[in-house]
Amino acid sequence: MNGNYNVMNIILKKITENEIQKLQQIGRKTFSETFAKDNAQESMVKYLEESFSTEKLRTEFQELNSEFYFAQQDHEVIGYLKLNMGSSQTEDKLDNALEIERIYVLKEFHGKKVGQVLYQKALEIAAQCQVQYIWLGVWEKNDRAIAFYKKNGFKEFDKHIFRLGEEEQTDIMMKLDLRNPI
């Protein structure tokens, strides 16, 4: 379909409804790979169960203000992207903005620019929809992600609380001003 492109054998593909199960698998796997070592197992299991339930993902898929993309290599899903606009954003602190809610790559593919390809897609959609800002929340302890966004021109502008089970964690909110990029 349209919007697919190919960089170093990585194909970006908009997901369809019958791929929700694949989305669930990659969603759970990447989330636990990223956070399991730093978090209580009980909270993690509960979060993975609830936040990636088939019903929840189906509802998110139906939402016109949200877009999901897979990064694929040799037909295998190796990463994914979830974008939100308008009322689907998890915070409404910015007008005319696009949120990168999730951008995850399987650990074994880290360092291969898969995240960069997914991020490019977010930039492309932001340009097509003519939003002023791209923003996201990132766990304050996720140094790898924070470094990635800083490198791409994002600046911290707020904080919010993310609940993982019973625990409260601080997310740093970062934004990129597309009209005044410095």
Binding site: M1, N2, G3, K14, T16, E17, N18, E19, R58, F61, Q62, E63, L64, E67, E124, I125, Q128, C129
Partner: protein, 152 residues
């Protein structure tokens, strides 16, 4: 009727979408050749990748009040995709609530996100209300091209 939600259709909507497709076939006088069943809607719209068609629905709680079916035309002279709107229908009981307009706006939004340059469709020459509706939304009749077809 305040809480109409415009969203992407999913498999569980198949039966309700089919009912509206059948109503449209009656309205546009092609019910004689209407060969679609709820099973076909399910298999061609929701169980294939990519699907044969895409669909937006207007939902009022559990009721599907309207639907819009479209395809992507991936290759155009401008090297950007376009969208062809195949069907737009609002249940008779839900007319006059701007549901058609909301569905069209949803389509425009989907087009924008997919980098489309154009959305096109046809309307029956006798359907004056439909023509007025599209013109009110800023669409224009294409007078440059004639529609041809080859029946097989």
């Amino acid at each position: 009727m305040k809480n109409i939600i415009i969203r992407r259709a999913t498999e569980s909507d198949s039966e309700k979408i089919w009912i509206l497709m059948e109503q449209l076939a009656i309205f546009e006088n092609y019910i004689d050749s209407f060969a679609i069943t709820p099973e076909i809607v399910k298999s061609s719209g929701f169980r294939k990748t990519p699907p044969d068609f895409y669909c937006l629905v207007a939902e009022d709680q559990d009721i599907i009040a309207g639907m819009l079916v479209y395809y992507f035309l991936p290759y155009t002279a401008g090297n950007r995709p376009a969208i062809y709107m195949k069907e737009l229908y609002v249940d008779e009981n839900y007319r006059g609530h701007k549901i058609g307009e909301q569905l069209m706006n949803g389509l425009k939004y989907e087009a924008e996100k997919n980098n489309c340059k154009q959305i096109k469709w046809t309307v029956a020459p006798w359907n004056k209300a439909g023509q007025k509706f599209y013109e009110r939304l800023g669409a224009e009749e294409n007078k440059d091209w004639l529609n041809y077809e080859w029946k097989l």
